[in-house]
């Protein structure tokens, strides 16, 4: 393109907020999500201190987090299976910013944990897993050793469990 000046007028932050005719709109968009039978049961399991997976009657895959249906066979999943709350770390990161892009005082350590659920090839592309916090110090999270590290769920005490993914406090190293 031979044009050197393209359409569009840049504004600085102060300019934008002092524009005449600036309209502020704070939308109220609130929803109540039905968990459905499968997630409800999964959350119930968490309250009881268990990680539950659901099995496909056709191909035998055990899904964690469980779904209503098998995405490969397109049939309804049936049997519930309690799976080990242990696994290995697939990836781990250290967050210094909050959801609002503000600096956090204490960094958050999160990752993906490949759970020890049977039926998946050991280094396969797919696995049953959870996205959750890791209870390791930041330096350890940044080290090479953390990838593939064996971990186990650290559950909140029974009275504090409400039927939520947060009933697991984090995954901690099995030492």
């Amino acid at each position: 393109m031979s044009v050197t000046k393209l359409p569009g007028t840049k504004l600085g932050s102060k300019e934008m907020y002092s524009l005449p005719g600036l309209v502020e709109s704070a939308p109220q968009a609130k929803y109540d999500f039905s968990a459905g039978p499968t997630i409800s049961r999964f959350l119930q399991g968490l309250k009881e201190g268990k990680i539950l997976g659901r099995k496909c009657p056709r191909c035998g895959r055990i899904y964690v987090p469980p779904r209503d249906y098998c995405e490969y066979c397109h049939v309804a999943l049936t049997d519930w299976v309690e799976v080990p709350d242990t696994g290995t770390v697939h990836t781990a990161v250290v967050s210094y910013i909050s959801v609002r892009r503000e600096r956090l005082e204490k960094p958050e350590i999160i990752g993906v944990i490949r759970l020890d659920v049977p039926g998946y090839p050991p280094n396969g592309y797919e696995f049953a897993g959870l996205f959750h916090r890791l209870c390791v110090p930041p330096e350890e999270a940044m080290s090479d050793e953390v990838i593939g590290m064996k971990v186990r769920a650290r559950w909140k005490p029974k009275e504090q469990r409400t039927g939520s993914i947060l009933d697991i406090e984090c995954f901690e190293p099995v030492r």
């Binding site: 393109m1 359409p7 899904y63 592309y125």
Partner: protein
């Protein structure tokens, strides 16, 4: 995969015009005005007017940024959809490349002869920071209670890529350096700069391993393409750019159940597009590429997904200068999202527009230093799920 390859298309489909606004952190223009500027510029380049347009396709990502529900309807008049057939298409960040992809079947089906394809995004209205909108992309029950922010998921993928492929931060930072430098020649660019690997490594750590200069910015902008049948193309231009292949795939939403080091969904989409274009060795047959680069490592990820390099090899080739504008297979000659900006849906359209200009040798200072015949662009979207691919040829 079961895709049909014998097509009933007698006419080929071509891009004959492209338009783009400046990409900026905050625009004075409203979303409709941004769409209009880009659409008008594209029509002007093609030498056409709104009367010549039969159909309109609009691409815009989360309604929550611009702050308007049913955003496609809101953008309609700015995008030329006045008494015209119009739909909006949406695959998250993949939308930008998906807009011309879906315009392809508007023409190939025989239903439309001239399609105006518009991508627009205005992120600046979101308060206190557009980042906050990404709070709502997660599964409301299983993920949201952990209060994830978007950068977490990229950081996790980057970490996995580094661990599996042995790539180090300083290797990956070269993408940022390359793209921001390429962008110095792009009049639309928001964050073009001459930086070094050191600058990247010293920038603020957001979610380790992701640092400030590894990430593309928040942007307002729009881009548009005019896509026509072969008959119309021959009447309006001597150098139509043909859409030779289209591909798109959507993986499941459970990114915590998959290997994050390789984008399988992009690979499927690329195979679909290459098959249609008759390309068997993309690493040899593609002359220039615009792989989606919202983060620096993502460009490497996508180069591998697009089979322009073997898995885990892209970072090594990058070090050798293979992907530079004067290299073997230039990538992101536009400056990419890292250099030009990331108005989600418009970014992908910008990349396709860049290839359009490259294939017509109209990219000025950004023109790559080798003959170009076939090009590929991809966009990525959702929770590590959407791969959209378009193959162009002159």
């Amino acid at each position: 995969m079961g895709m049909v390859t014998n097509l009933f298309v007698k006419d080929r489909v071509a891009i004959v015009g492209a338009g783009i606004t400046t990409f900026m952190r905050r625009a004075l223009e409203t979303p409709r005005e941004l769409a209009w500027e880009a659409a008008r510029m594209a029509l002007d380049q093609a030498g056409l007017t709104l009367k010549d347009v039969d159909c309109v396709v609009i691409g815009s990502a989360p309604d929550t940024f611009d702050g308007v529900h049913l955003k496609g309807e809101y953008l309609a008049d700015g995008s030329g959809a006045i008494r015209k057939p119009m739909t909006r298409v949406y695959v998250g960040g993949g939308t930008g490349v998906f807009v011309p992809v879906s315009a392809w079947w508007h023409v190939a089906s025989g239903l439309c002869k001239t399609v105006l394809a518009v991508g627009e995004e205005k992120m600046s209205p979101a308060h206190p920071h557009p980042q906050y909108v990404f709070r709502y992309i997660w599964d409301p029950i299983i993920h949201r209670p952990l209060e994830p922010n978007l950068i977490w998921i990229f950081a996790m993928e980057m970490r996995r890529y580094m661990a599996k492929c042995g790539a180090k931060k300083e290797d990956i930072a070269l993408v940022s350096v390359k793209n921001k430098r390429n962008a110095l020649d792009n009049p639309a660019a928001q964050v073009a700069a001459n930086i070094t690997v050191d600058d990247v490594l010293k920038s603020e750590v957001l979610v380790w391993p992701v640092q400030e200069l590894d990430v593309s910015p928040v942007t307002d902008g729009a881009a548009a393409l005019v896509i026509t049948s072969e008959n119309v193309a021959r009447q309006v231009t001597d150098s139509p750019v043909w859409i030779e292949g289209v591909g798109f795939t959507l993986d499941n939403q459970h990114w915590e159940n998959r290997e994050l080091a390789f984008p399988r969904y992009l690979n499927y989409a690329a195979r679909m597009a290459y098959r249609m274009a008759g390309i068997e060795r993309p690493w040899k047959e593609i002359d220039v590429a615009e792989p989606y680069d919202p983060f620096d490592y993502k460009e490497l990820h996508h180069i591998e997904g697009l089979m322009l390099a073997r898995p885990c090899e892209a970072w090594k080739l990058l070090k050798e200068g293979y992907f530079n504008r004067d290299g073997e297979l230039p990538t992101s000659p536009s400056g990419g999202l890292l250099g030009v900006g990331n108005p989600i849906a418009a970014a992908g359209v910008m990349k396709v527009a860049e290839l359009f200009w490259q294939l017509r040798y109209e990219a000025g200072k950004r023109q790559v230093k080798r003959p170009v015949h076939r090009a590929v662009a991809n966009a990525w979207g959702d929770l590590m799920q959407a791969g959209t691919v378009i193959v162009l040829g002159n």
